[in-house]
Symmetry: none
Subunit: 325 residues, 3 copies
């Protein structure tokens, strides 16, 4: 679809969150279709996880985003979908790959939302495809367990914070979940949640560096808990790490089903977003260093540095591998 | 894309206007892409006309709409696009043809919006395709001239109207044109206009029959005048004709570029919409007869009857032709 | 949240209605949460009244609006909420107070929408806070009764009006209430109604003075009647008074639950909006005087003048009081 002014920031760059939302919708369609392709219980695919996603090039207002999706692996109860986004300037005809994302969906029964139904297996062209898929499946399963334990953190407000401290840029927004945010089962689309997360992370990044910023990547996001229609969701973000030219922001999503007494406010999702600051010519700008004050902030900075160095090492290994071929 | 509650009426049927908007966006993309495919002045395709469109089956919330578009004819300064919409129930896999629409676009220069640029010719598989396209081109050209002359009518309000009279159900809305309604040239997308027209026509129809209504068809619409960002548009509708099971509503769009002092309010578009009323089981219901009072209302009723009988005769001829083959 | 192009007029100033909608959403969340904080019947807070609200400074596209809400008084069946809006330019870090609004909510049972449930009392730090709150409660209760009686007026259309007359700028729009406009109870959010009212009032103001206009203040608004999902609402506005640099517009909201035969069209809300016209540098411009023709128009002009002088006197008294301290 054509990118509109509301999809973009003041500089005309389309929000990463808008693209994440389109990716998730495409994934939800293809996996729901697949899971209902055999006679059996009608079901709706719910987003369980998005693998780490890099934004390879910014998209601008007026460009057309082409989204294509393919099922690449099925386990007994989950579906792996690969989604590609190409941006196309229909005036010049120029096309660029914007995103390649991998998403995991779980089919939930339309009659009983707590029941996971079985996934029809797909056919693989080569045996290795199945083995590689299985390896990815095991890896993400392990990672999901880890984040489930880590999810307890909270963001407290700071009075009169100094510029470039964590407290200075931290931000939060609340959103009342409406009908158009939800699937047929009455739970929030994963893509809607990701769009809100990107919105908060973008505000944190802009407050820190006071320049035009764009989403560079999103770390793997696990959706442990569903969020029901009518809930209030609070999305909070704080900066955890800065390198010379990038900022890492941790985002939490808490859901409060506040009319439904049976349940307390709970942590639904958390994730790390990385932003870069761009000049008018689209070149990355230096970023002010994050000033850490408390022990926790220093620890999180070191952890962020670890993730940064790991990602950098992985990318270099890939480049060397590509150069060898 | 997946149809949301916001796209539909209370009974869960997706508004015809939402579908018209999707059709027009697909047409604008494919024709802008085509017109920029050869070296030359960058341009944006503007909607000039939509041929008569039938809504073959209603679309429901939760279904996925698949839109495909193809260029079927090019003249020197215009492009004919054929758009097909299929609705797909991703739970059952059932697919239905919802719409087949034909749209005409004219490429306007990005630098000078009053300049129409040349359209690169397409290749036809068979010579007859070009001849048939040329025939369609001449026919629509003639029809465009006719509506341009007819465009002067106005809707006057009626105080305390009786039920089932024209004055009772006539309705109008105003809309301030925002940035997301517009193309790169700063003019309203034809699809946005059609969505508002369907909204008003639907309210007129519902006020008349007080039951659940759906768009059955839209007569050819000609876009004679562009509407600029920041204008206020007034969309007015009045019922012109009822048969046993259908209602015809005439809709006018007037634009008021009120910040721009150099231009008065003007008629931008007008069209006829046909609605039917559906029972809970999706069967057409009888419609209360329109009570005409003035001479003008009686004349318009007769004209509407003429269009109704003509359409009916055409459809029967097509059915007989199809039966013969 | 970040202000988007669609939130603003052509000059980049965010619509007052967008801000009113955010304020109301925050108020609805905090009061619904409070009313469900004790074991008892689940309920949803419905907006009953908004006190007079001044727009202290315009907000622009790209700025972040920070909304904070606090419960300041509870009676047995109602909650008073104070909402503050700060706009923040995240590039410069500059913050400005935009609004301070006071809203009254009434908790309605989720099972029986006609039943008002009891509000858990709040704790006051000082005894005077409770007394002052009680005084505000009694005052608004009185005012609510008064407007309920005044609500019968209608707007009649004028053919070929002269510039600067009441008939020239009066405007109305219709809106079909969709699912996203509604609370869990299936009734329109007060904030949605206020946004539509501001849209019509803004069009009336712009038609009168043909320049860039912004909302300066909104008089107290009472919500006497709920509006159900699926209704058609007609929002009409007419200018009542002009001073040298401001315009007062009266806005009416009528609801037509037209599928539900048991109920006729009824007046749901009415209110006065005040607008100013701004130059490109953000300075107030002189406004053409309103030409009154009928006796009713002259009377309404005098009443508007009364409100204007009263507000002016109140503001000066406050300034003097502030200077003394």
């Amino acid at each position: 679809r054509i990118m509109r002014p509301d999809d973009a920031n003041v500089a005309g760059n389309v929000h990463g969150g808008t693209i994440l939302k389109m990716i998730e919708e495409a994934g939800a369609i293809i996996s729901t279709r697949h899971c209902n392709s055999q006679a059996g219980e009608p079901c709706v695919a719910a987003l369980a996880r998005v693998e780490r996603t890099d934004f390879l090039s910014p998209v601008c207002i007026g460009e057309v985003a082409n989204v294509s999706a393919e099922i690449t692996y099925t386990s007994r109860h989950s579906v792996e979908v690969q989604v590609n986004v190409m941006s196309e300037n229909i005036l010049t005809g120029a096309k660029k790959v914007t995103n390649k994302a991998t998403l995991w969906y779980v089919p939930l029964s339309l009659k009983n939302v707590n029941k996971v139904v079985e996934v029809p297996p797909i056919q693989y062209v080569r045996k290795e495809q199945e083995d590689e898929g299985k390896k990815r499946y095991e890896e993400q399963k392990l990672d999901r367990l880890e984040t489930k334990q880590r999810n307890g953190d909270m963001i407290f407000p700071v009075i009169n914070p100094e510029p470039h401290t964590v407290g200075y840029s931290q931000s939060s927004l609340i959103h009342l979940v409406g009908p158009s945010d939800c699937t047929l089962l009455g739970f929030v689309h994963g893509g809607v949640t990701m769009k809100l997360m990107d919105e908060v992370a973008g505000i944190v990044a802009a407050r820190h560096c006071k320049t035009n910023i764009v989403t560079a990547s999103v770390d793997a996001i696990n959706f442990h808990e569903k969020i029901k229609k009518g809930s209030v969701i609070t999305v909070s973000g704080r900066m955890t790490f800065t390198s010379n030219k990038s900022m890492e922001i941790e985002v939490f999503v808490d859901a409060d089903p506040f009319v439904d007494e049976s349940r307390e406010r709970y942590r639904a999702v958390s994730a790390f977003f990385t932003y870069v600051s761009l000049s008018k010519e689209g070149k990355p700008l230096p970023v002010p260093q994050l000033l850490t004050e408390t022990e926790d902030e220093k620890r999180r900075f070191e952890e962020g540095k670890g993730r940064y160095l790991q990602t950098k090492a992985k990318r270099q290994a890939q480049l060397q591998q590509a150069a060898r071929h």
